[in-house]
């Protein structure tokens, strides 16, 4: 039973990180209508920004997170302005190739500055907490709490504020949103900024228990793709639920099946589900 609960906690940790990344991806999908391959590189950039602030400048962990969120939001907005905006009427293939270009640039850039080594990010939350037989590193609890908080805040923002509503409106219908006087440019930039900040914060949360390296975004972003395909592209609740499903599938798969193949589980799940339901699990009709 304790082992089982341990896996539940692991699943929540992974699921929280995946949900945050997938949320950004799904929001941007609402604007671009094309998945942003560079999102994983944004995640990686966030980890490096925080690594620089915490371990080189010697500031504390929370400054690192703030700095990462701001840096990645900036990178994200700049790429929207310089790359995705000029391409807004181009065929999907061009979008994808351009986002791959950004991805390659950011990864090579990080490698040029920090080298190909793996780095360890220090965190003040090294304690191991125990509650009645359950052991839990504090950092993992922090991930779960922070991810939960961010998801709730994002939901409130999207549902309760006018600015949030404009994002939802844009995702639902671009022309309709423009007709009622929503400034598409402003909303697109805002969405990219939020998506970037979420990816940056997810990276800073997860990096202390993983490591910081240039290809750290690859698996995370691919899994985020799986999540938004499962949850329906552009769907916010879908991204949260999908993130948790993949997180739990991995935690339990690693424990009950094999640690070696745990990374395959998410992809196998996608292949399986798309083979049966090409439109995704929760999607209403094909896009």
């Amino acid at each position: 039973m304790e082992l089982f609960l341990q896996q539940v906690l692991n699943g929540l940790t992974l699921g929280g990180v995946y949900s945050l990344v997938a949320l950004g991806l799904t929001l941007v999908y609402g604007i671009l209508h094309v998945p942003n391959f560079a999102h994983g590189a944004f995640y990686m950039a966030g980890a490096y920004a925080a690594f620089f602030i915490i371990d080189k400048l010697g500031l504390n962990y929370w400054w690192g997170m703030l700095g990462a969120a701001a840096t990645v939001a900036l990178i994200s907005v700049v790429s929207e302005r310089l790359v995705f905006h000029p391409l807004r009427n181009a065929p999907y293939l061009h979008h994808m190739i351009a986002s791959i270009g950004i991805l390659l640039f950011l990864e090579a850039g990080a490698q040029a500055i920090w080298g190909a080594d793996f780095h360890r990010m220090t965190t003040p939350y090294n304690q191991i907490l125990t509650f009645g037989g359950l052991t839990m590193p504090a950092q993992r609890l922090l991930i779960i709490a922070a991810a939960f908080l961010l998801v709730v805040l994002l939901q409130l923002f999207l549902k309760k504020t006018v600015t949030g509503a404009t994002i939802v409106a844009m995702a639902q219908n671009r022309e309709g949103a423009a007709l009622v006087g929503i400034d598409a440019t402003r909303v697109a930039m805002l969405t990219f900024a939020i998506a970037g900040a979420l990816a940056g914060m997810a990276a800073v949360l997860y990096a202390p228990i993983n490591l910081v390296y240039t290809s750290m975004g690859h698996l995370v972003i691919t899994k985020a793709f799986v999540i938004i395909v499962l949850g329906g592209m552009g769907s916010v609740p879908g991204a949260i639920v999908g993130g948790l499903i993949i997180g739990f599938a991995e935690a339990f798969g690693a424990f009950y099946i094999s640690t070696d193949y745990k990374d395959i589980i998410a992809f196998a799940l996608l292949v399986l589900i798309l083979s049966v339901r090409p439109q995704g699990l929760f999607a209403k009709g094909a896009h």
Binding site: V34, P35, L82, V83, P86, L87, A90, P91, Y92, L93, H94, M96, I97, A98, I100, G101, I102, L103, L104, F105, L106, E107, A108, G109, Q111, A112, A116, H218, L219, T222, F225, V226, V229, D260, Y261, D263, I264, F267, A268, L270, V271, L274, S275, P278, A286
Partner: protein, 339 residues
């Protein structure tokens, strides 16, 4: 049009390639060129499914790895001859491609790409983790050189170069036959519009699947050659970055043209060679280059040239219905007389 008279141009290219070993001053240059040729074969394959049929397959390097590991495993672990296992490599990739294609091609546009991205990851991870079959991260070492055929000794760099060139020339010729046949036009019709193609009575699934299998056949064959040429294999062969490399070659030369991807795949490795500083960080330059190309020169060098030729021709003969130079699809439409 007269300037780039197709036959003369291709013959000239072939003569240049055949003369290259006599112009190159060392074996290293031969190695660079041979490796570029091998990737050119794979790029030509990617161009068939992406440039001509409009489906961006991100598992392409995974299929190249399948071909390469077919040769590696059969020669090293089962003592099979290189030529026999090489002959199998393309078919093994196409066989696997059948099953991947039948599932993935039901999806359209970026859903297809995401699906194949995941398939590529599965291939990579399986190669890395299934140690009893693939030797895992250690990789397959000591793959034998291709056996001699008569007086041809394939441990010689120069003979190896001609071997690779032979298969590249054969691939280009076959691809030329494909894209200028009714089949090629069918593929292009699918690229230019699924619905319209279907309305014309084209069986979408069958033709897409055929394009996919042909495409990965080339990739598998390139992988087989790679195994026999480099004679060492690691899981990195399957990494999606190689697909990105091929995408860049394809885009720079001109996506959806025959000559473009070939030129891109040959020119770009040389560019990286000469910008030695870049080696490791080549994507600091090539990443933004990819973005700029997509924004400002989406048809690549060859595609832009062909479009201009076509526009001039259309202006010279105003009576003839213009063959639509203002195509909004991913790649230019192909004239029958062109490269």
């Amino acid at each position: 049009m007269k300037l780039l008279n197709a036959k003369v141009g291709w013959t000239l290219l072939l003569v240049l390639a055949a003369a290259f070993p006599f112009l190159a001053d060392n074996d290293y240059h031969l190695t660079v060129m041979s490796t570029a040729f091998i990737y050119a074969i794979a790029t030509i394959g990617l161009n068939l499914i992406t440039g001509y049929t409009g489906q961006y397959n991100l598992a392409h390097s995974g299929f190249m790895a399948v071909g390469a590991y077919t040769v590696g495993i059969l020669t090293v672990d089962y003592g099979m001859s290189f030529w026999l296992s090489f002959a199998l490599s393309g078919f093994v990739a196409a066989f696997l491609g059948f099953f991947v294609g039948i599932v993935s091609l039901r999806l359209k546009t970026h859903f297809f790409s995401i699906f194949t991205l995941c398939v590529g990851y599965i291939m990579f991870l399986v190669i890395e983790k299934w140690e009893s079959l693939t030797h895992g991260t250690v990789g397959i070492m000591g793959i034998p050189a291709p056996e001699n055929i008569g007086p041809l000794d394939f441990s010689e760099p120069r003979t190896q170069y001609y071997m690779v060139l032979f298969f590249l020339a054969a691939s280009v010729w076959i691809m030329h036959r494909i894209v200028h046949s009714l089949l090629g036009r069918t593929f292009m019709a699918i690229r230019n519009g699924d619905d319209l193609a279907q309305a014309l009575g084209i069986n979408l699934m069958r033709n897409k699947l055929l394009a996919f299998m042909l495409s990965v056949f080339f990739s598998g064959l390139a992988g087989g050659l790679y195994a026999g040429y480099v004679r060492f294999l690691g899981p990195a062969v399957a990494s999606v970055e190689h697909t990105f490399d091929m995408t860049m070659y394809m885009l720079i030369g001109g996506i959806g043209t025959l000559l473009g991807p070939l030129l891109g795949a040959i020119a770009m490795p040389w560019l990286t060679q000469y910008l030695q500083v870049l080696q490791e960080f080549r994507f600091v330059v090539f990443g933004p280059l990819l973005v700029l190309l997509v924004i400002f020169l989406p048809y690549g060098i060859v595609g832009t040239y062909l479009n201009r030729q076509r526009r001039k021709a259309a202006m010279r003969a105003p009576a003839a219905p213009a063959q639509s130079a203002s195509s909004s699809t991913a790649a230019p439409k192909q004239g029958a007389t062109h490269a």
